[in-house]
């Protein structure tokens, strides 16, 4: 075995740290492209390729690197420009053309200002600069109220570079833990921090680790649950893509505390970039003696295997996930016994979510006391959310627990686009619920959200405006679960089937008196009778929308009216004759040819032909199409 790369001492770590620092702050200019999935979705690959071609084709001293998600997905692709001794700056909405211009000006020694939206701190060890007239990143409304501890390195380092991870403090804590702490001390510290599981249920992590440590048997396992499946949620994905080493470090600490020698990361196959980055990270960690036998020369053994999930939402449930790793169908089983007693292959198993594991290195580095200062009495620390939907600033945010929903929506998210009215915020995905305007001053913590009929969940936050029909939202989530419930237990399977039948009926205007009450009784039964958490929470979207928007349900059922004008069967498009100038744009765009009329004369919509797709409404510049 090649032992030249093994890290067995603090000196070796320090050497790699110096190497990482010189990569982060080299002596030549550097351009870093944000290449997480969010960046790629808006064209970061084209930006990267254009820049690569430019660097290849011109004599250039510029280095090109990539990084993960920096959070502000709304303005992706984001590019960071570094010049030795000058402030680091971020450019937003970069295109291949603009990145060529940036590169050309960089070579000429100047710095273009178009597209710069903020400056960044220098990497520790180098000078911190500010640029007059450009805000610092922490002054931007989007970042001002955030507190990045878990996402601290995400979007700052090259996720494929162990040296850069170490340069920003990585693995020093593991060295301290392995060399100078007892497993009991590690568990005590995590317990003291009050860290609760970030996967949604919020079980105290320290207690889970202690239970597993105390469980009988020599063989114990660790699992990282990275089967993130909620619609609109991408916290775990961004962490895995942007900072995979912090997960490996956190799990290695957990292994030491619990006494496990083998860990598994169960990641969904729909995350190809996360899988790539994790594989690279795992092989680098092995190469440097940070995984495998005799970690950092301390005699501890721990290795991690990557398991790719097959695409079943229910495999995010811990017992189903374990069944899936074992090669059985991904179906939950009755707990107890809990995985800490009888988990993978019947052995005591600690299963935590990605974000939970990634909290461990910070807590053990900064101490539980520092962690306790963040958050509220019952929910310590920070929480990562993906803020999506009808919101101006879409992005990945990390906020201290206890922050008000209003601050998230209006300060960080900068409110609702197009001056529309806020209607609800959905947390926790298909297991969560909707929270209304009146409850926006609710502090974000496990217990407050639960009380309001929603859940913290893993961190998806979907903002909805006045155009969103809440019955349709409930229908959407139940329809999602129809295919994603495993179908094992009858309350969940039959309950979802019938709830969907009723919701579809209501959306079509065929709802009957008593339907709302039937939905409620199905929902209550599912809560109490289902086997696993998927089933017991599956009715939350229905129950919470009924709780807060009963009038909207009643309007559908009694008046056959959709107040948000969303449900197709209940709306009608109509030409407002006074406003129509007869430009014929709507008639040409109508896929059903349902619109007729002479040029410069008011048009008509044939209701029999209209499929209510809404294209005419979108294309009319005169606002002459009415929706009723």
């Amino acid at each position: 075995m090649d032992t030249t790369n093994l890290i067995t001492s603090i000196d070796a770590l320090e050497a790699l740290k110096r190497q990482g620092l010189s990569r982060l702050s080299p002596d030549t200019p550097k351009i870093t492209v944000g290449m997480a999935t969010c960046g790629r979705a808006t064209g970061a690959q084209a930006v990267f390729d254009a820049l690569q071609a430019e660097i290849d084709n011109t004599p250039s001293s510029v280095t090109l690197t990539t990084t993960g998600c920096i959070g502000f997905c709304q303005v992706e692709p984001i590019v960071e420009v570094y010049r030795p001794g000058k402030p680091r700056v971020l450019f937003q909405n970069v295109t291949p053309e603009s990145v060529r211009a940036i590169h050309a000006e960089l070579l000429s020694g100047a710095l273009p200002h178009a597209g710069v939206f903020c400056t960044l701190d220098g990497i520790p060890g180098t000078e911190v600069h500010r640029l007059a007239g450009t805000p610092h990143i922490d002054e931007l409304p989007f970042y001002r109220k955030q507190k990045k501890i878990v996402l601290n390195r995400c979007g700052r380092i090259d996720p494929d570079s162990l040296a850069e991870y170490i340069a920003l403090g990585g693995y020093f804590t593991l060295q301290k833990v392995l060399a100078s702490m007892e497993p009991g001390d590690v568990i005590a510290e995590i317990e003291k921090s009050g860290l609760r599981g970030r996967g949604g249920a919020g079980f105290p992590t320290g207690r889970k680790w202690r239970l597993a440590r105390g469980a009988s048997g020599d063989v114990k396992y660790l699992i990282c649950n990275a089967d993130e499946g909620d619609p609109g949620a991408y916290m775990d994905r961004s962490l895995l893509e942007g900072d995979p080493f912090s997960l490996l470090e956190g799990m290695t600490m957990g292994a030491f505390a619990v006494g496990a020698r083998q860990g598994f990361i169960y990641v969904r196959d729909e995350y190809p970039l996360a899988i790539d980055n994790l594989q690279t990270a795992i092989s680098q960690a092995r190469e440097h003696g940070l995984l495998g036998e005799n970690i950092m020369g301390t005699g501890h053994t721990f290795d991690i295997r990557l398991i790719r999930g097959g695409g079943a939402f229910v495999c995010g449930e811990e017992t189903a996930l374990i069944a899936s790793i074992e090669g059985r169908p991904g179906e939950p089983r009755q707990r107890p016994p809990f995985p800490v007693e009888k988990g993978l292959w019947g052995k005591p198993t600690v299963i935590n979510n990605v974000e939970t594991w990634c909290n461990a290195p910070w807590i053990l580095a900064q101490g539980a006391d520092a962690f306790v200062k963040l958050g509220t009495e019952s929910s310590r620390g920070t929480k990562i959310f993906s803020l999506v939907g009808k919101i101006n600033n879409t992005g990945l945010i990390e906020v201290p627990m206890g922050i008000k929903l209003r601050e998230i929506v209006y300060d960080i998210g900068n409110g609702i686009p197009e001056g529309k009215k806020f209607k609800a915020i959905q947390t926790g995905g298909p297991s969560g619920g909707c929270i209304t305007e009146e409850l926006l001053d609710l502090p974000v913590d496990y217990d407050s959200l639960k009380q309001a009929g929603a859940i913290m969940g893993s961190g998806g936050m979907i903002v909805m405006d006045e155009d969103t029909c809440m019955v349709d939202v409930a229908r959407y989530f139940v329809d999602f679960l129809k295919d994603e419930s495993c179908g094992k237990c009858s309350p969940c399977r039959e309950g979802i089937d019938r709830a969907l039948e009723i919701l579809e009926r209501i959306c079509q205007g065929a709802g009957a008196e008593g339907d709302i009450e039937t939905l409620e009784s199905i929902g209550e039964m599912m809560k109490n009778f289902s086997l696993c958490a998927l089933g017991t929470t599956a009715s939350n979207p229905v129950l919470s929308t009924i709780r807060y928007f009963r009038d909207e349900y009643e309007a559908h059922v009694r008046d056959h009216r959709c107040p948000a004008k969303t449900c197709r069967s209940l709306i009608r498009y109509r030409v407002i004759a006074q406003k129509c100038i007869g430009c014929m744009v709507c008639a040409k765009s109508c896929p059903q040819q349902a619109i007729s009329g002479e040029k410069k004369q008011p048009h008509r919509i044939d209701q029999a032909l209209c499929s209510k797709c809404g294209i005419c409404f979108e294309v009319c510049k005169q606002n002459a199409i009415g929706k009723e």
Binding site: P329, R333, Q334, E494, R498, N528
Partner: protein, 258 residues
Amino acid sequence: MLRLHINDHEVTVAPGATVLEAAQSVGVRIPTLCHVKGIEPYGACRLCTVEITDSGRTSLQASCCCPARDGMVVRTDTPAVVKGRKVLLQLLLARCSQVPQIRALAAQWGVKSTPFSPKNDGCVLCGLCTRACAGVMGVEAIAFSGRGTSRRVGTPFRAASDVCVACGACTYVCPTGHIQMEAQTAARLRKNVAAEKKCRYMLMGMVSSKLCPNNYNCRSCTFDQTMEFRFGTHPSLAMGAMRPGAPVLTRSNGKDDQ
């Protein structure tokens, strides 16, 4: 021994017993569809859900899967249990609207009609057949396929099974009589298996593995008849009961194979 309260009864059971077994031992009725003694509990039908207070915490749990603990207080008749059970029976009755056994069970618990549009499925997806096939016989000829509302029981890819030994255990445990053995199919299967397959007793290691002199027609097998007489149940399930500590199977509403 463990002492627990179930409704107004004080019950004493041996460690390892489930809450359902404890209730049955004192005659407290709890409905169940997916549970048969001798087959690993599964917790799929959830009809046996009861309210349990243990160490100061009250929750609703499926009694078939819940190990009895000293000091537990169990109630089978709280409003949440009764109401949920009723809705669940309405749902199952709608699914299996033409199945006499389901109609009878629902009626027993006061559910005579359902607000949901009736379907006519014969299978409640209780998983007894698949568990009998895999867990008792060790064959796995049938299993679940599909997810959510499209879940169903069948052979792999719905093709004729080449591992089924036509033992009939699945037909015996099925609570709705949905699985039936066809005489012709059974004869064909037994013919097929003669060359290389083992009968249930060979599979369980009860008799040495060799060609069956009865051409795998279990009804003419003296060993089989002895087993049934001895245990008063379907022979293949009696095999399950032969395991150390397993209770004797007593279900008697099943149908035998031809």
